[in-house]
Assembly symmetry: D2
Amino acid sequence: MNYQDILNEIHEEIQPYLKLGKVASYIPELANVPYEKFGMSLHTVDGKTHSVGNAYENFSIQSISKLFTLTLAKQLVGEKLWARVGREPSGNPFNSLVQLEYENGIPRNPFINAGALVITDVLISNFDNPKDKILDFIRLLSGNKDINYDPDVALSENKTGYLNKALANFLKSFKNLDNEPEQVLDVYFNQCSLAMNCCDLANSCIFLANDGRSHHFDEVITTEKQTKYINSILLTCGTYDSVGDFAYRVGLPGKSGVGGGIVAVMPDKFSICVWSPGLNESGNSLAGTKALELFTTMTGISVF
Amino acid sequence: MNYQDILNEIHEEIQPYLKLGKVASYIPELANVPYEKFGMSLHTVDGKTHSVGNAYENFSIQSISKLFTLTLAKQLVGEKLWARVGREPSGNPFNSLVQLEYENGIPRNPFINAGALVITDVLISNFDNPKDKILDFIRLLSGNKDINYDPDVALSENKTGYLNKALANFLKSFKNLDNEPEQVLDVYFNQCSLAMNCCDLANSCIFLANDGRSHHFDEVITTEKQTKYINSILLTCGTYDSVGDFAYRVGLPGKSGVGGGIVAVMPDKFSICVWSPGLNESGNSLAGTKALELFTTMTGISVF
Amino acid sequence: MNYQDILNEIHEEIQPYLKLGKVASYIPELANVPYEKFGMSLHTVDGKTHSVGNAYENFSIQSISKLFTLTLAKQLVGEKLWARVGREPSGNPFNSLVQLEYENGIPRNPFINAGALVITDVLISNFDNPKDKILDFIRLLSGNKDINYDPDVALSENKTGYLNKALANFLKSFKNLDNEPEQVLDVYFNQCSLAMNCCDLANSCIFLANDGRSHHFDEVITTEKQTKYINSILLTCGTYDSVGDFAYRVGLPGKSGVGGGIVAVMPDKFSICVWSPGLNESGNSLAGTKALELFTTMTGISVF
Amino acid sequence: MNYQDILNEIHEEIQPYLKLGKVASYIPELANVPYEKFGMSLHTVDGKTHSVGNAYENFSIQSISKLFTLTLAKQLVGEKLWARVGREPSGNPFNSLVQLEYENGIPRNPFINAGALVITDVLISNFDNPKDKILDFIRLLSGNKDINYDPDVALSENKTGYLNKALANFLKSFKNLDNEPEQVLDVYFNQCSLAMNCCDLANSCIFLANDGRSHHFDEVITTEKQTKYINSILLTCGTYDSVGDFAYRVGLPGKSGVGGGIVAVMPDKFSICVWSPGLNESGNSLAGTKALELFTTMTGISVF
């Protein structure tokens, strides 16, 4: 069975799962997305693209943005990054303040909210205009110049994001932010608001499957070693407090967002993005995780 | 030995302890207070006043203000208050976020920072001008119209109080603040900045020793029952994470602040205030606690 | 109204509360006690006794025994005791292992299970026959030579007390037990199994209201200072994770047990014991706490 | 460079690292092993073996045994296993009781001590003679009939293993052990005491690199799917509280033990075992981790 046939079959099999998840409801912009949406896009390292469903419809990438900001920050400060943020799974909800208190303000990894705020702080300290730089980088990775922040989503999160404000101020109290919490939150809420589709996201991640090089433009994004590093962090920390379950069922490095998107990569083979707004209890797309599980089961391809 | 002789003897005995504590250093206004300062003031329910040392010199009352705002809030909403804040000792540092997360945003008691922020939120919801009301109340209790906020202290705390900002936003994320965190913090930083002396504070607390009535004016502050309630909370929660030690050594209901002040009361007998800026590891005045221990040992008077 | 009338009135008023609590069910010996039982006994420092209901019926004193073992251990090792156990309220359930892990095996106070095991360990290290010594001490305090361990209760607890076994081994792993966990648990399960009635217990505690002296025999149990010390620990740590609530509503130093008994003392006035098997959520007798609240409200007598 | 040359080079490069770790000291049998020991053994799926250093010298496999008992238990009860133990990284030290309390006695994964005790409990409930069965299974996997328990090590751990006793009793208090803690601990201490060498262990793990089949005997140990499952748990949970670091630096599913051994597998390619007694702060072999990092860096082979 070829990849397109597999995507088509998943599209059919996944229908009963779409309504089982719960759409994120904390801001209207996310709550209003219909749960029936489902898209999937696969990009192979030899340049082929296969898509199914709503693969070309934009959604809010939310925490998937943490993968891109980590890649940028790692380019900027290298291994020094690990003095300010760990690279261990947290064993706690993604927005917990508990561990941060016990571990003196050093977030467990760059993919929990506290860690992502530290990463954003690094970008602010290194770029004159961090919001532009992040946007330029995403446009470069995806090859899509039309990608943009969604100001309504960013504003909504700024109005209601008390937990993230608590985290930013808590980090600052441990002196693990160089900039003011308000600045860091402004950039952070914007990066989370990026509107992209499955095809954009699969395109943006192909460098992780291709030893750091994109196939649609001629630039090295990360060295081969850095690429492996990022993939390892994705696998051990990329899907909130269910990384073990995701590795068990899907078996690929991946990153999820509460907008319902998940990106995953198979080194030397492909990048893949799936989108379905209904979330499971851990905050990952329920049908999206199931779709990826079906994909690795049907193809027999995973890192294990 | 009469009370004045006892205060004089304590004043002598306490000298070697003054330099053992550590003056709070997180804002310049507190850090610059000389550690040699020591004052003590005793007010008896029959209207006598005894003082020693720097008893008439102003200091920043800080967390002692939580006693006055609790009294106000209890007057306003009565037993309903306990739906939003507990009345149990925390067994944790006064500014911990851990317990708040495990207990769904209900602070353990009104005297840890999180609880005090909820109390301040209650005042804001009930008063048109909460800052004026708090100030009026303190002036009434103390009988001193000249008491005022210290705007420099309030501003400094607002600039550097990231941990309190984290707490306020965290409470708001649990929907346990009705007002915006910024508003609550503004009033809170102001109440903490109040500048008072030992005599003012002992005067302000005499109602707790006198079944709710002051001796220097003719108004019932709290009913006899409410008075007992407040005293019980002082004893079990008033001195941060060392209430057990304070009860063991001093044996009186009391409230401390990081400015180095401690107020305490003996029901039916007296209120007392001591000030010495050097703090012990729990954030209570080191020499102040020792002075109160000497006082209850020498007089043989305590609630136990 | 005299004391006997007050006890009689409480006996009537308390009836609807008896069935609201939940009888401890983890061993058959406790589960089989009828919830309707209610007894109360008051002993004044001038030697009078007032009783009501099932005041002369034996029940399992359970954690109330911790008060007697603490008194013994304090006699033996004095202030050195505090190197191995704290005297702060825990802010956690009485059998929690969490705090013990964060605080390196030093229990918060002598009245949570972990702390009581350390106290028992002290007795084992200091007495050739600790079980006999404890029994002798209780018989002396109560003036009742017929008091005894209940071997069925002790055996049941030994068979099912996995949580206490976990605590003892956990303490040992931190080297905060000198003896083997099995030995400590054996003595501990026995001390908890002591069968006593309200009158015995009020008698046994009168020394705490009487500056350390009993009125029914001529021996100093504790110095005046030690007596105050123990009372302070009772007030801040004696009633599990609801010491704040107990101080607020009752306002007396007290110690409870899951057998449904509670002892309390008013310095210079009286000791009191109440028994009702139904427990509230914190593990204290529900109707017993209510009865004590009624008593201090009706008499207007409390430490506050 | 061929595999043997790479092993030889690693053997040279690793020398300065041998003395940097700290040999486990809690029982004499482990403490007495010289830190200079270093062995490494590689088994490829096409049946080749390469070894270097002390690859044929026995050491105590300790927690590596958890991999074998998990494989057995998964065969016995399948997916039902996950009702009693999770498969998420813990984000806590391997012997922590904290998380167990917050998560009601369900250990985070089969590789922390609490989880491994549950697994052993499953084996006891399903086998008449679990110790024989475990030994038979290891002898089968390794092809070495001479492998045996080390009774001195097992006895030493039984005498001093208070923390494991605490864990077993704690699990039992949550009713997550079917058998008595003593029984479970007896089997557990024995399985940890198994004495094996690098070659035995690499041999024993080749099925994980070979879709569930061994190359040295004709039996399917696990299905292809089960094999992937176990590898995923190894990667996300196999190396205590540093799984993120191990994935980052080494990039292979692996399991470590405090005896200084680490096994790892590369699906479709090889299994590998390294031994060096000095441990890093997380309890993994310091030089062993470094040797595996050198191996995956020099060969460019990892799952990422």
